[in-house]
């Protein structure tokens, strides 16, 4: 099944700082909850793994990440990640385009557009929750991205951001995550969005 997610994250950092992080794939990967780059195969080609928990299914995906395009001028990154879980019962693919838009005055916005395709058990078991889960994963990605940029700097704020990053769970299985998922679900119930 296919899920399309679009997100915008506003930052107080200049676009040039944010771009430094966004264009560094191994570093930006650490912002993705549960994800990890294992090795760089060659330029723009990496292998990595992701652990996801959707509903009752916890799955470890191993696969490749390919940076299709890095455009310094437009400050845009296009990447594709695809993998299979180790038992071969599910597969997932994510195509993502992320770019930065400078705001008037200080700061910028990180915009992201992604299409996530899942097949197999993950789709069967987690189908109903995929939209919310994808949404939450990307929301957390935005938060981590802010921490990561902050951590790149100096001073007290950077220190606390580094601590938060260290606490960041490596799998998507935290109580806070489940909590925000439930909150999102309830929010959707109260103000139903139009879906096709």
């Amino acid at each position: 099944m296919k899920v399309k997610v679009e997100k915008t994250f506003p930052f107080e950092f200049p676009a040039t700082t944010a771009w430094k992080l966004l264009s560094d794939l191994p570093l930006v990967a650490t912002c993705m909850p549960g994800a990890e780059i294992i090795e760089k195969v060659y330029d723009h080609h990496y292998t990595g793994k992701v652990k996801v928990k959707v509903g009752p299914a916890t799955m470890a995906f191993k696969g490749k990440i390919i940076v299709k395009n890095i455009d310094d001028l437009k400050q845009e990154l296009q990447m594709i990640g695809k993998g299979q879980d180790l038992k071969g019962s599910s597969s997932a693919e994510m195509e993502m385009t992320a770019w930065l838009v400078p705001k008037d005055g200080e700061g910028c916005e990180l915009k992201g557009k992604s299409t996530i395709t899942v097949n197999g058990k993950l789709a069967s078991l987690g189908g109903r929750m995929m939209t919310q889960v994808s949404d939450q994963i990307l929301a957390q990605f935005g938060k981590n991205f802010v921490h990561q940029i902050t951590a790149l700097g100096e001073g007290k704020a950077a220190e606390s951001a580094r601590e938060k990053l260290a606490e960041q769970a490596k799998t998507l299985n935290g109580i806070s995550f489940a909590g925000s998922l439930a909150a999102g679900f309830i929010k959707n119930l109260i103000s139903p969005k139009k879906k096709d």
Partner: protein, 711 residues
């Protein structure tokens, strides 16, 4: 492996996997823990290929070919084929006559409807233990099968082991509902593994495997056209069906009937001319359609005609009870030959309808509905007057793998008058032990508690085709009655010998033969049983037993009138079933308590299908509903209260007049729920809503109509 429908099905996929969850590898281990760990070590890499999920796309010119292995075959079961993904076309009736009648009729209503893919989902999943004795060359298989004798024949054909050396034992089964008729790849794997290894091999499914790979039902995309005059008298019926058969054509069906008995779709009505066309196609879904608590494709047929009757009634503004009444086959017209070739044996539809309408105060309900509508509330009244076709089947019409669809019973009366009886059917919870014992007790006058009924062991039971399609009572029950009557005929001869009179001088009374006009001169069945083993007339063999292989002259046609009342919450879409009144006519009622139980079960499974069960797929072919988180199994919490009633119109050709009952409530209740849900919106021009009527789907309709606005 060959399928019952004439196709070839992969036991384990090689080169190409055709549907999600298809079996690709098997691991055999000493215990389940090792097996599970070993399975985790099997790495499978899949290369995604284009898929077909929507059967309407199967025969597109640019559709990917799903089955390269049969591409050159002009037949996979029933031919001819017109596309690589096409399986069969089956047409019946008078096409020209139907088209002519449609063109000249006062009014024609047309509707597309989908009877979605559902799963019978018995509580016990499928499983078997296969044990091959390498020394003796004997194969014993314990299996959850509704048709153990057919399984033995299939296993023998496939393995080369003589049927006499194969013993299939189908013990107590935790529900079947059609799901346990077929032979699945994992049975074959277990049997082959046992033959190769010479050790017992057990295979059992988990719930997800069961829901994903074993036999499902329906998946009929139907278009109905019903023509009538302005008074609502039917002139013609035309039906087109696209049947999604999944990746292999492995439907459980009588050989010559690729669309089962779907052509019974003229229902309880006088339809002068009709035509049905069914096309079966391949898609990337699990194979193996069965009849889920119905006779082959009868649930679909009944759904179609009952929906069309409602739609016609809406179009003409004639009440749905009235329009049915105007088109009923009348009691004196039976046996009635339908325009699609069936001979309905008996019925009295008007009496049944009147009884139900009076019982629920139909006029009062309509009045209440009008008041509710005026207040903006949603109340619906559903009505169906359906006829089923069950009791598969006369062997002249139906066979499985060339074996006629008879049924068998063997009755042995012991010297002390107790009875051992064995049948070719197999109970999956319908209490054959009670019904059959009651038939024998009634026919022979022997106490039912001393009658033992045994089924399901092919080493002891006579050959039978098994239990499905409501055939146990219509065919197995008939065999039992006829066998019992053979025993009684012999007993009469012995009684005449013992009493030294002619057979003609004897009267039968409950449990004994009496000499006419001579009180006290009598022999009870127990006394006769004793004599059968020591004192029989000259020239007669000793013993008291009989076998009967009953080949029915016709199907039986149970029917019913169901009425339901629903209230719909216009803000949540929840459908609350306020009332469900079910009148069934299953002919002679052998055991009322068992009938009642069967009807409650069938209605509940009908409620499940109508209100929640479906097997949805996403566009990639992922099954999105193969756990009990998604797949609806109603409990006492959701299930409405059932009110039941009956009339009795015995079948003229069945030895007891019985017609079979277990499936009517399932088949009949589903369109009755749809009828009620649609009726709640009928005043707003809604003519049809597809199953299942979940709160979400109903709410969507409410929202589309703008009924959920708060003041």
């Amino acid at each position: 492996m060959p399928t019952l429908a004439g196709d070839v099905q992969a036991v384990l996929a090689d080169e190409k996997v055709h549907f999600q969850y298809q079996e690709v590898a098997a691991v055999i281990a000493d215990n389940r823990y090792i097996a599970a760990d070993a399975l985790d070590l099997v790495e499978v890499e899949y290369e995604p290929l284009p898929v077909i999920v929507d059967p309407h796309r199967s025969m597109d010119a640019d559709a990917p070919i799903l089955r390269e292995d049969v591409v050159k075959k002009d037949k996979v079961g029933q031919g001819p084929r017109k596309h690589a993904n096409h399986i069969f076309t089956w047409a019946v009736g008078d096409k020209e006559g139907t088209d002519r009648a449609l063109a000249s009729a006062d009014v024609v209503v047309k509707e597309d409807m989908l009877y979605p893919r559902v799963h019978p989902s018995p509580l016990e999943t499928c499983g078997c233990v296969a044990s091959f004795d390498k020394i003796k060359g004997n194969l014993t298989v314990y299996i959850t099968s509704q048709a153990p004798h057919i399984v033995r024949t299939v296993v023998s054909i496939l393995s080369g082991v003589p049927e006499s050396k194969i013993r299939i034992i189908s013990p107590d089964i935790g529900g079947g509902f059609g799901n346990k008729v077929g032979v699945y790849p994992s049975y074959v794997t277990a049997i082959v593994a046992s033959i190769v290894l010479g050790r017992p091999i057990k295979w059992i499914e988990d719930r997800m495997e069961h829901l994903s790979t074993t036999a499902w039902a329906r998946d009929y995309h139907m278009t109905g056209e019903l023509a009538a005059d302005k008074d609502g008298k039917i002139k013609a019926l035309k039906v087109k069906v696209l049947a999604d058969h999944g990746a292999f054509n492995s439907h459980a069906q009588p050989t010559k009937w690729p669309a089962g008995l779907f052509s019974v779709c003229t229902g309880s009505y006088q339809v002068p001319v009709a035509h049905v066309n069914v096309d079966g196609v391949y898609t990337n879904k699990a194979p193996g359609g069965v009849a889920y608590r119905c006779s082959f494709r009868v649930a679909e047929a009944v759904y179609l005609i009952e929906r069309m009757m409602d739609i016609l009634s809406q179009k003409l503004g004639i009440d749905k009870a009235e329009i049915r009444s105007r088109n009923f086959i009348q009691a004196e017209q039976f046996p009635y030959k339908t325009s699609l070739g069936w001979e309905l044996d008996s019925g009295d539809y008007p009496t049944a309808l009147k009884k139900v309408l009076d019982a629920v105060d139909y006029a009062g309900l309509r009045k209440e509905q009008a008041e509710k509508r005026a207040q903006g509330e949603l109340m619906g009244i559903g009505l169906v007057t359906f006829t089923e076709i069950v009791g598969a089947e006369p062997s002249k019409a139906c066979d499985v793998l060339g074996v006629g669809m008879f049924e068998s019973a063997e009755i042995r009366v012991h010297p002390t008058g107790s009875v051992m009886a064995r049948m070719g059917t197999i109970s999956t919870g319908q209490a054959h032990e009670t019904t059959y014992a009651q038939i024998i007790a009634t026919e022979l006058g022997l106490p039912s508690e001393e009658i033992t009924i045994e089924e399901g062991d092919t080493d002891t039971a006579p050959y039978g085709l098994g239990t499905y399609g409501s055939r146990s009572t219509p065919v197995g029950g008939a065999a039992t009655a006829v066998a019992a009557r053979k025993v009684r005929a012999k007993a009469k001869k012995i009684a005449a010998h013992l009493l030294e009179v002619s057979e003609d001088d004897l009267d039968w009374e409950i449990d004994r033969f009496k000499v006419k006009g001579v009180p006290g001169q009598e022999k009870t069945m127990k006394e006769i049983a004793w004599a059968a083993y020591n004192n029989v007339p000259e020239g007669m063999e000793m013993g008291l037993e009989a076998v009967d292989y009953y080949d029915p002259p016709n199907f039986t046609y149970p029917y019913g009138v169901y009425l339901s009342v629903v209230d719909i919450d216009k803000f949540t879409g929840e459908v609350k079933v306020r009332r469900f009144y079910a009148l069934d006519d299953c002919g002679t009622r052998i055991n009322p308590m068992i009938i009642e139980g069967q009807i409650h079960g069938g209605l509940t499974e009908g409620f499940a299908v109508a209100m929640g069960q479906e097997m949805p797929f996403d566009e990639e072919g992922n099954l999105l509903g193969n756990t009990f988180m998604d797949y609806f199994i109603p409990s006492f919490v959701e299930t409405p209260q059932w009110e039941t009633d009956f009339t009795v119109t015995p079948s003229p050709h069945h030895p007891l007049g019985a017609k079979g009952v277990a499936e009517s409530p399932h088949v009949g209740s589903i369109p009755c729920f749809t009828s009620a849900v649609v009726d709640a919106f009928a005043h707003l021009g809604v003519t049809h809503m597809d199953l299942p009527h979940t709160a979400q789907k109903v709410w969507k309709k409410i929202h589309e109509l703008g009924l959920d606005k708060r003041d």
